[in-house]
Amino acid sequence: MDRVPILNLGSCLLVSVQVDLHDRLALALQEDLASEIVRHHARGVLIDISSLDMVDSFIGRVLGNIAAVSRVLAAETVIVGMRPAVAITLVELGVRWEGVRTAISVERGMALLQGQGTPGGKARDVVRRDR
């Protein structure tokens, strides 16, 4: 089965989702990330979803679960690169990402993980919900 590659960068893991996520692949990523966080003692996980042209409630739930699981394993997750149309649709769909941190770009996300960003995220650092 296909897997989404996970890169290890210092104390962080970087995931760039480049394929259309089917459900099994999303669940496999969740499991792989949990294992890799432990294996590399990762402190942060950066998930780049800029290639995704759609996030439905299932993928949204899996991404939320990844953030929750990594927090339990003492790693912080930041989801970066969400397209504006995807953000609008996700909000309208009714997916609530409580406790999921987001950033506009990989660079900003990395800054958040390295403590250069404001905890909780300032308005300019998080994906804004304006339409």
Binding site: D20, H22, D23, R24, D53, M54, V55, D56, S57, F58, G60, R61, R83, P84, A85, V86, I88, T89, E92, L93, G94, V95
Partner: protein, 135 residues
């Protein structure tokens, strides 16, 4: 509403990969018809939710995509399965109601994302969900 079908195609929904294919074909048709990006994304997301329902709750089925013409052109998707049906439609349409392990946003969320939404179901026999987005 009176509308005429311009073109149509049917896609099987039997495996998870079919859900991805439904998304891709729906995206292509929405784009061809001239929907702006946000609406394309809403249509594709609703298609993904409903195709997954067809697979998970209906045990598989098919989706019929068509371009319809009324006052404006629209993209119509009909999801059909011969699974257990939906015993309590109003309840199934509530946010957070789920019989699976999802968020329970599949039906309610799809209804919000599309312009028209209707469910025709017979418990123990079939479910047919029709959605339309007008250009």
């Amino acid at each position: 509403m009176t509308s005429s079908v311009v073109t149509g195609e049917t896609l099987a929904v039997r495996m998870e990969d079919d859900v991805v294919r439904v998304r891709q074909v729906t995206r292509r048709r929405a784009e061809e018809l001239g929907f702006r990006l946000v609406d394309q994304t809403k249509i594709v997301t609703a298609a993904s939710e409903l195709a997954r329902n067809t697979l998970v709750h209906g045990g598989g089925g098919h989706v019929h995509l068509s371009v319809v013409q009324a006052a404006r052109p629209g993209l119509k998707l009909v999801f059909e399965d011969h699974g257990p049906g939906i015993p309590d439609v109003p309840r199934a349409l509530q946010d957070g109601f789920t019989t699976g392990n999802g968020l329970g946003l599949g039906l309610s969320g799809s209804r919000r994302l599309m312009d028209e939404f209707s469910i025709d179901t017979q418990p123990g026999a079939y479910t047919r969900i029709t959605v339309v987005k007008w250009l």
